[in-house]
């Protein structure tokens, strides 16, 4: 019926999805070959005290659901357990790294939104050579994998031209942003092209639609037709695609952080998997999944706000 009820429904769905995701993340412990204990200690010599600590942390003496319950309760209190390797609370190990990843993804998102939408809207509205050349460029950019873009960008702008640092995260805020330019572009490149192409398609579809023709036939100024009818309606598919694309950047960040040696969640995840530091892997995967699910929900809600047909019930008379 109302937007309020729709939001409540989405919120419940969000919580359920998060719970199921956390169950899957925790259950991974049991999917690994051998017993959970042997998996957690694999490849390491552990003292009896450490073994006891791990058993206690995971409540391995209790049933699966009870173990899971303890873990979830801990997570809800901000306690992701203790790193087996780092011997420190996982949360403290993640904090700074999460911020680095957030900065990288946010930077790339801004590039995607500004450039992707500008290129897409321009190509959608200006038929002819402008449209064709922008789309040829976008198609080319879409075909470049992030790691290739990263290497090429470093070669040209860092190694040859010395405009930007080759790797590292930087110290002060300005310095951090400066260090993020190349990684941000590399991470964003393919997505910029993708968002631009979809934006163009959405704008073109709306521009050719009957209701826009009606608006033109009523003598509305071109600017009003474009903003109120073409772009307003094209925003609906664009928000969906842009939202999901930004969500997928979280995964793409893993590669970029490795290439540029940015100490973020992605590179830490790769490291933790290599060292079989399960509490850390668990925590990072859960955080990434949670961010993705929340982003999805935000997209859903925006979608309903933009399109009254989604939330409003069909009380036609």
């Amino acid at each position: 019926m109302s937007l309020g009820r729709f939001l409540l429904g989405r919120l419940i769905a969000l919580v359920v999805t998060l719970l199921l995701a956390s169950l899957a993340v925790y259950g991974a412990l049991y999917l690994a070959p051998g017993t959970p204990l042997s998996f957690l200690t694999r490849g390491r010599t552990v003292t009896p005290e450490e073994l006891a600590a791990i058993k206690a942390q995971y409540h391995l003496d209790e049933g699966f659901l009870s173990q899971y319950g303890h873990w979830v309760a801990g997570v809800l209190h901000g306690d992701f357990g203790t790193s087996i390797l780092g011997k420190a609370p996982v949360l403290s190990l993640l904090g700074g790294r999460a911020f680095n990843t957030f900065m990288l993804v946010a930077f790339a998102s801004i590039i995607i939104l500004i450039i992707g939408l500008t290129v897409g809207i321009t190509a959608g509205l200006k038929r002819g050579w402008v449209d064709r050349s922008l789309m040829v460029g976008a198609t080319g950019a879409m075909a470049v994998p992030a790691f290739v873009a990263a290497i090429v960008l470093v070669l040209i702008f860092a190694v040859n031209l010395h405009w930007f640092p080759v790797f590292g995260a930087g110290d002060s805020l300005g310095d951090r942003l400066y260090h993020l330019v190349l990684p941000g572009i590399a991470l964003a490149l393919a997505s910029v092209a993708y968002v631009a192409r979809l934006t163009r398609a959405a704008v073109r579809t709306e521009a050719d639609s009957d209701h826009v023709q009606t608006a033109v036939s009523r003598g509305l100024p071109r600017g009003a037709v474009i903003s109120r009818h073409v772009l307003r309606n094209a925003m609906i598919p664009i928000v969906t695609v842009a939202g999901l694309t930004i969500g997928s950047l979280i995964a793409g960040a893993v590669v970029i952080e490795q290439v540029f040696q940015l100490n973020g969640l992605g590179s830490y995840l790769v490291q933790a998997v290599g060292q079989k530091d399960f509490p850390v892997v668990q925590a990072i995967v859960l955080i990434l999944v949670a961010v993705f699910i929340v982003l999805n929900t935000v997209v859903d809600v925006l979608y309903a706000v933009l399109d009254p047909r989604i939330s409003a019930g069909r009380q036609s008379a």
């Binding site: 209701h211 826009v212 003598g219 307003r232 047909r309 409003a312 008379a317």
Partner: protein
Amino acid sequence: MSALLEVDGLTVTLPVAGLQQPVLRDISFTLGQGEALGLVGESGSGKSMTARAIGRLLPPGAQCEGRISFDGDSVLELDGAGLRTYRTHGVAMIFQDPRASINPVRRVGDFLTEALVTNEGVKQDDANTRAAELLDAVGIDDPRRRMRQYPHQLSGGMLQRVMIAAALLINPRLILADEPTTALDVTTQAEVMAILDTLRRERGVSMLFITHDLELAAAVCDRTAVMYAGLLMEEQRSLKLDSDPLHPYTAALVQARPDISVTHERLLAIPGRPLSAFEAPPGCAFGPRCPHAEPACAQAVPPLLDVDTGRSRCRRLPELRGTMGAKSAGAGNG
């Protein structure tokens, strides 16, 4: 009295597969202030294209020749401010499918008042009041509530009434109604048509009414023109179409219409299929399907000649006149 709308020798070509192909050929007619002209034809005959040319809504790449004059202004040469004034105060269009032609994500009230507020600077409150009055006039109950709703919450018939109200709201001098009832169910059709007809007459607005329904055109229009393959085949007073068609095509259309008082074994159909303008043969476009065609008809496109009651593009009209009427039927299939 000079006409409000004069179309003279209008020829339109569209790019099809890289070539400019004709869709309208030498269309000429006039429409007086307050008068209604029906434009009838099968799909592809060019009737909608004629309305689009007058509303300046031809697809990109279309090329026009000839002249369209509205109240003395040359419509095809309008640009920028002139074109906007023409659309703001001169013509209003009503389209076939109201659900597709009204922005689905904006409220009904926004749709109704947008042109007034944006183009004429009318205050939103005043525009709302005027819109509500007109919604009432087109038979929509509780207009204020409807104006707060979205198009998907209204039925097709109601939406078309909203469209009619929106068209009348700007006090146009000419309404271009492109099959306004085709997308509606039959009972709703009659209601919506009656509302449009009444309000138009009351306000003295001229109307070009595009339809494939000969009877509907005859019911609401003073005069009716019949189109085929991008050509005007005949034009005369609507009342006479039935009894005294001026072209074999019109006669065939009249006969193809089932009579509900008689049980037909099989409906009479016109043999062959309708042609679009660029497929038409060099001679009379209807020639290949015409029961009265003779070799001379295929020589050249017959001119649209004035006759006592109207105009006709049939070169054999003097011989055939009076033999093609509705119920002198059967004859046509010889």
